[in-house]
Amino acid sequence: MAGILVFVEQREGQIRKASLEALSEGRRLFQSKGLPVAAVLVGANVQALAASLGEWGAEQVFVADQPDLALYSPEAYAQAVAAAVTQAEPEAVFLAATALGRDLSGRLAAKLRVGCLPDVTALQWEGSTLQAVRPVYSGKALATVHGGQSRPVVVSLRPNVFAADKQPVNPQVVALPTVAVGGGYRVREVVAAQAGELDVAEAEIIVSGGRGLRAPENFSLIRQLAEALGAAVGASRAVVDAGWIDHAHQVGQTGKVVSPTLYVACGISGAIQHLAGMSSSKVIVAINKDPEAPIFKVADYGVVGDLFQVLPALTEEIKKLKS
């Protein structure tokens, strides 16, 4: 049986943590069977990053390094990864289920004419078949899935679920043939969100606010706690629709699906569509004045009380702990 190929995402020369999680999980699964572990890097001036992937156990690193691959384009990136697949002939291709990874996985799977298991939260061997668990119906059910007869199976792994751990080897770096980038897709501009703002999809800790905040200016209470915790700011749809905060912050079925280590929901009732986005968080804290609010059903810790009193006090306590 063949080994694993992990697509490692980088942005501006920075490797994404979620990709290291995918690489680590790929290594754990395939090394246990004595199978080879390879990675593929795509971008401009990424050659230097290739060697660093050896730290995480990549024995072979395929590199597509071209100026016109600096920014993501689905077709060009799929071509580059497909070229690595041709050389490595893996059993599976793993990607981090980031915005880029999820999009690329579909394009790549169709190009290879194989199946794709998206946004999985657990992986295991069932004999010689890789089986995955993925939340479906917004996390209301868990499906156990595999890639049928097709090989390699493309799998995207939900960020923050699998552990990233080092296991240094000396990697062999292999340059991939030049990819012909078509003219049908061109990134004109990348607009960064407000400087210093953490994205909820990647954050380890998220503090979210809902309609219980009563007015947009009260989001400052959420921001202060988030700052004390080094957390990203999330929101329910109710406050996004009301225009209090940008949609990029929305957590839930029609927002982002997150699984941070700690999720703090403040003045959020816990509607099923909100739970859909955050119920796989490791530790959930709810702050709500209504003891019957459904959010308490999924909370590991809860405070029944007025957020206007509890939040400032909590921010102070956290600052004390951290100093």
């Binding site: 579909g106 394009r107 209301k140 607009v191 859909a276 509890v310 306590e317």
Partner: protein, 262 residues
């Protein structure tokens, strides 16, 4: 200008999910079906193009008998034609099987200048079919679009990425997956609902597309079993009404010493 829209019928997002007798799919009794929320943005964008540029709008759905209704719900908002690729729904959950069926249908009814899909089908939660269809049709696609501008022969799309936005230019034909924010989907009008009943739905069999549904279904992704998530143990609830300060202190302590997350 011709615009194709991929729409799918999914359980209402508030539905209670139970595992069905097969152990591999949900129990569909009592489920209310709705247009997948992201597909609503796709539908709205297409109808706006019909209104502003006289585009012809053709809806496509693949699925069992009841899915014909999703086309009627689209017609109630606007649009010209609807194609229902009637299947057993056996390919559900196998994005590549579905993409092959839809790509073949689009080809048969095509060509299209623009194709819209949802960024993700609610329920299947895959976010794959759009990109796969584009690859099969050998056209570019852009995912998670929150704003669109139309130019001669192409589009400019604003798409959400982590920590920001990308502005992308594409040539037509291309495929766009709709993200929340793209527009405000309209409600169907009463007149629209009445008119929708009379709109012709074309029903095609998978075999008419030269494909074998049985062979496709589950070939590239198989649901082995479906289970409900394990029930969560009751959490520790602190009373912050009398003594918010004390509750905050205790919470901070628990997060550090017990949960070890801060």
């Amino acid at each position: 200008m011709r615009v194709g829209v991929l729409v799918t019928y999914v359980p209402d997002t508030a539905s209670t999910i139970k595992v069905g007798p097969s152990g591999r799919a949900i129990d569909e009794t009592g489920i209310k079906w709705i247009i997948s929320p992201y597909d609503e943005y796709a539908v709205e964008e297409a109808i706006k193009l019909k209104e502003s540029r006289g585009a012809e709008v053709v809806y496509f759905t693949y699925g069992p008998e009841r899915d014909q209704q999703v086309l009627r719900e689209c017609f109630a908002r606007g649009g010209d034609r609807g194609v229902h690729v009637l299947g057993t729904g056996a390919a559900f959950g196998d994005a590549f099987a579905i993409a092959q069926i839809l790509a073949a249908a689009l080809q048969k009814a095509g060509p299209f200048d623009l194709i819209f899909a949802g960024v993700k089908g609610v329920g299947s939660d895959q976010g794959l079919v759009g990109a796969m269809v584009a690859e099969l049709l050998e056209i570019p696609h852009v995912a998670a679009v929150t704003k669109l501008e139309y130019r001669e022969g192409g589009i400019t799309a604003w798409r959400e990425i982590e920590g920001g936005q990308e502005v992308v230019e594409l040539k037509c034909p291309c495929l766009i997956t709709a993200q929340k924010g793209l527009n405000e989907p309209r409600y169907p009008s009463l007149k629209g609902i009445m008119a929708a009943k009379k709109m012709p739905v074309e029903t095609w069999k998978v075999a008419d597309l030269g494909l074998d549904e049985g062979a496709l279904a589950g070939a590239t992704c198989r649901w082995v079993s479906l289970a409900l998530p394990p029930a969560k143990a009751a959490g520790k609830i602190l009373n912050g009404e009398q003594d918010p300060q004390g509750a905050a202190r205790e919470l901070a302590r628990l997060l550090r010493e017990e949960a070890k997350v801060i």
